[in-house]
């Protein structure tokens, strides 16, 4: 039972890590970036290439995946994304889907369409079991690692957003670019760094998730739905929202599949629909209101 709970948490955290970048670009920047998965894929392939071709150790690959994806994000932001912030959401959808198609085809061309695998270091492969009987808690080391990385990331992000002015400057720029610039906020830099950071997070997510989810050129399209679900259910105004949503969905999904396997595929969708009809702005919205 505890094992199931743990697996649910780990799965939720994985979803979160993958969706986190999207929560940043879509939630905070209000840019519908469906190419998010492509950045995640970039992170995954960077890791694969570094490990397979250059023999870089896995742990070192993670920051490199982050940086690589962030760099790609930054370049694309400067060249392509910037004019699109002001355009309607539908344009953004069109654009980012187009970009995804291109990414998918390019990766296919250069890397082939077969699945890529990441060989984890030995210490991440094991498993620890505590207790016995119904209360056994089995934890895969890799899953434990994901949970830890995720927790650290959340804390760091939360800190940046709530303790520094960056968060409010970003939201101000999103709310009204024109006026924010007129009031002295360097909107371009704010957007550039946020976008790069969001892409970096996606890359990191891809590097971490490739092991569990598999990695092939169709990755961005295959998992897009999951990223979107997490962000929609979590609400787009904070980091904790998507985190809690991801945990909720992860646990519900794993537990549901364990206890009522017949309902397997339905649980997540039903849960999402019910939540969204009940709270259309997402489960956890920024409320304000306390004077």
């Amino acid at each position: 039972m505890l094992t199931i709970l743990f697996d649910g948490i780990a799965y939720g955290m994985l979803l979160f890590i993958l969706a986190l970048g999207l929560a940043v670009t879509m939630g905070l920047m209000n840019f519908i970036n469906l190419a998010h998965g492509a950045f995640a894929m970039a992170g995954g392939y960077i890791t694969v290439l570094l490990m397979q071709r250059a023999g870089v150790p896995f742990l070192l690959c993670l920051p490199l995946a982050f940086l690589g994806a962030a760099l790609i994000g930054a370049v694309l932001e400067r060249t392509l994304y910037r004019p699109l912030y002001r355009k309607p959401h539908l344009d953004q959808v069109l654009f980012s889907i187009g970009l995804t198609f291109m990414a998918v085809a390019s990766v296919d061309y250069f890397m082939g369409s077969t699945q890529q695998f990441i060989q984890l270091p030995q210490w991440l492969r094991g498993r620890t079991e505590i207790g016995s009987g119904a209360w056994t808690l089995g934890m895969g080391h890799y899953r434990l690692f994901i949970v830890a990385v995720c927790a650290v990331l959340t804390l760091v992000l939360q800190y940046i957003l709530s303790r520094t002015r960056f968060g409010s400057r970003l939201r101000a720029s999103v709310d009204d670019q024109r006026v924010a610039a007129g009031l002295g906020i360097n909107v371009n830099i704010v957007f550039l760094s946020t976008f790069a950071f969001g892409s970096g997070l996606a890359g990191l997510g891809g590097a971490l998730g490739a092991e569990v989810l598999g990695l092939d050129p169709s990755f961005p399209l295959k998992f897009m739905i999951y990223f979107l679900i997490v962000v929609a259910v979590g609400g787009t105004s904070s980091i904790t929202g998507p985190l809690l949503a991801a945990l909720l969905l992860g646990i519900a999904d794993v537990a549901g599949k364990y206890y009522i396997p017949k309902m397997g595929a339905f649980i997540v969708y039903l849960l999402m629909i019910v939540i969204l009809i009940w709270r259309p702005q997402g489960l956890f919205v920024r409320q304000g209101g306390k004077a």
Partner: protein
């Protein structure tokens, strides 16, 4: 010198099934390269179309190939619904349809013009169910993807295993879209069977094996047995040590020890950046052979009904071993091998250790 003989090859070249398309196209081109593009005085022309695994696209492409290009043979078909959607066109236009990938048993019944050179899932699952009890695996949990082929695999495996005195305490079905196998594997672990039987589409196989290992199920004394899709040759080498010792049953292994296969594998790898051929490739390769032979037999005249007649009953030595196209069902009859993943020269291979000869599709015998 007559008009060119056109083969319309419709395959998923993009999307999640893209590897299927790549393997088959590469194999078909290899066949042409090896055997020349002129048969019985006619030039063979291959037209490749991408249907992105959408049956209505497959159908339209087939329609256009037949009406506009006037193709002599339709071929390919990555997934069952595609084959099913094209079947009426084959019938209506009297064009042979050579199915090279789709594996649901009932496909060949959808049109008298369908000939299959791939395999059927019941063939390989039944073989595994025959082998298991003999090797002290009596209590088996099944885990299949919840769609047509998966359910086929589950059904035939279970029936045959029970017939052979085994037990299936639980049959788990995984949704098509399923990123994480943890809950299912945990359930299996808690049930503690002798073995877990798995069928999942080739991409997901690696994830299952990994998580199987990670969960320490092998150490808990549970064996992993599967159909050959799970240790797909296309990816096997990249899966790493988790795949070692997994027992699977399938009709083709790139490690099949025959001169014909050696030659095939070498040529294929040379032509395709070292890509290892898998069972899809051999389906395409043999499909081309069947078409070539049929054309030869008709003396280059072609013609739908004549071609199909000429395809029926062909017997030949394929890279997978001896193959026979059943004249009655137009379905493929071949050996099913039991293989174990082993490391040879630093690479992982499906090494065959047992064989069940001339397996007909059990789906047709009812």
């Amino acid at each position: 010198q007559g008009a060119p003989f056109k083969i319309g090859l419709i395959l998923p070249m993009t999307g999640q099934q893209a590897t299927t398309g790549r393997q088959i196209e590469a194999a078909a081109r290899l066949w042409i390269a090896q055997n020349g593009d002129t048969v019985a005085g006619r030039k063979v022309e291959l037209i490749v179309k991408d249907d992105t695994s959408l049956p209505d696209q497959t159908r339209r492409l087939a329609q256009e190939l037949v009406v506009n290009e006037k193709v002599d043979v339709l071929a390919g078909m990555g997934i069952t619904p595609s084959a099913m959607a094209v079947a009426p066109i084959a019938t209506q236009s009297k064009t042979p349809l050579v199915v090279m990938a789709a594996a649901t048993s009932s496909i060949t019944e959808a049109s008298p013009f369908i000939v299959r050179t791939s395999f059927t899932l019941p063939q390989v699952s039944v073989a595994l169910a025959d082998w298991a009890p003999k090797n002290n695996i009596k209590n088996v949990v099944t885990l299949v993807t919840d769609y047509g082929p998966g359910i086929d695999a589950e059904k035939y495996f279970k029936e045959r295993l029970q017939f052979n005195g085994g037990k299936v305490p639980e049959s788990l079905r995984v949704p098509l879209r399923n990123p994480d196998f943890a809950p299912f594997l945990q359930k299996v672990r808690d049930l503690k069977p002798d073995a877990l039987f798995v069928f999942v589409p080739s991409g997901a196989g690696a994830a299952v094996m990994k998580q199987f290992g990670e969960r320490g199920m092998d150490k808990a004394g549970i064996k992993l047995i599967a159909t050959g899709d799970v240790t797909d040759d296309d990816q096997l080498n990249d899966m790493g040590d988790v795949a070692l010792n997994v027992v699977t049953s399938h009709h083709y292994s790139a490690a099949h020890p025959s001169p014909a296969n050696k030659k095939f594998v070498e040529a294929f790898q040379k032509a395709n950046r070292n890509l290892r051929p898998n069972f899809m490739a051999v389906g395409g390769y043999d499909g081309m052979r069947v078409i070539y032979e049929a054309l030869k037999k008709t003396g280059g005249k072609g013609g739908g009904p004549a071609l199909v007649e000429a395809m029926k009953g062909q017997i030949f030595e394929s890279p997978r071993g001896p193959v026979f196209i059943d004249a009655q069902t137009r379905d493929v009859v071949h050996n099913v091998y039991l293989r174990k993943v082993e490391k040879k020269d630093g690479q992982l291979w499906n090494v065959e250790f047992d064989v069940i000869k001339d397996v007909k599709d059990p789906g047709k015998t009812k």
